[in-house]
Amino acid sequence: MSDAHSSPYLHHHFDTLEQQRQASSLGMWVFIAQEIMFFGGLFLAYTYYRALYPEAFAVGSSLLSLGWGGFNTVVLICSSLTVALSVHAAQVGNKNGIMRYIVATMFLGVIFLGVKYIEYHAKFDHNLVPGRNFQFEPHDAHAHTAPVEFELPALVASAQAQVPQMAMPAMDGEALHAEEEHGELSFDPRHLQIFFSLYFAMTGMHALHMIIGIGLMFWLLRLAGTNRFAPEYYTPVELFGLYWHFVDIIWIFLFPLLYLI
């Protein structure tokens, strides 16, 4: 038949390279649909609790660093551009282009993760990691100048002292009426733990995807370095591009939902 059959890139169970390429691409898109639902569970939890506890979420959001979050958003968009360019380089058969842009993407990915490390570290310093040592100090919310829709009470030492350390679940119904105890706060500080739990779960899952992506890029570099790509076969680069753009899209939603409310 046609010379497509003798292509070294063709697996035995496909008839043509084009059929094989379309199969891979469809497979990746189906995988992405699956990923949407995977993160979707997190977005559902977020929406659910935000509907229940809007004030706590607004305060929690104000405790995040808008500067770092915005910076990372820019970094990720840049990395999407570099990935798109590396796929383009693969399409036109520019091996050095592929490698150059992949390295740039890796670099940007590492910067993103570095910033995430700084942010996580700050949360640990301020006892904002859910669990035994979680502690909310209202003046932290002031230290950041992000907009808060309502007035936080002025620094009231007593309120601060009263914030309970909710490590062990208190089962008495009394605990559910915490607002009475903390008359000065317009929200229940325990709900902040939920916000921060979601923050860590969502950004952590996103970061995990980026780490996997960076691992994949090493593999791509090796393939490109050994001249495994050609204009008629560059599926790994293309699929990786889809994956990386998807991870970028997740962040596009995470950024406003977590940092900007």
Binding site: S2, H5, T16, T73, A84, H88, P256, L257
Partner: protein, 121 residues
């Protein structure tokens, strides 16, 4: 998905006549333009968040994010030039997520419609 002719290449195009690769290549300038658009949208979304619009804040934020995501999918991910079935796959994820959110919110938001009897409190 019901159109039998769209997606079985092996069947639609005889192998001999198929071009080796019939793949759309976008010009590099398009990528830079999209990049610029994404940056502008990012600035807008941060700016809008600084204005107190009440309920509209979250609506604006999600709308702009959706817009950005659509642009990334259409151009960076080449969805615009892809087969119909690819569109279906991409849409399925988004639609199903909306179904999950909508039906769950139907529960959360209507829970208080019936007031809790005082004696239960």
């Amino acid at each position: 998905m019901t159109d039998p002719s769209v997606d079985t290449v092996a069947e639609a195009i005889p192998a001999e006549s198929a071009p080796l690769i019939n793949h759309h290549i976008s010009p590099v300038t398009l990528y830079y333009k999209i990049f610029g658009l994404l940056m502008i949208l990012t600035v807008i979304t941060v700016a809008i968040a600084r204005v107190d619009l009440g309920f509209m804040n979250i609506v604006m934020a999600v709308t702009i994010a959706t817009l950005k995501a659509t642009v990334v999918a259409l151009f960076f991910m080449h969805l615009k030039y892809s087969a119909k079935v690819t569109w279906v796959a991409a849409a399925a994820g988004a639609i199903w997520l909306c179904v999950m959110l909508a039906l769950t919110l139907a529960d959360v938001l209507s829970r208080t419609w019936i007031p809790t009897p005082e004696a239960w409190l």
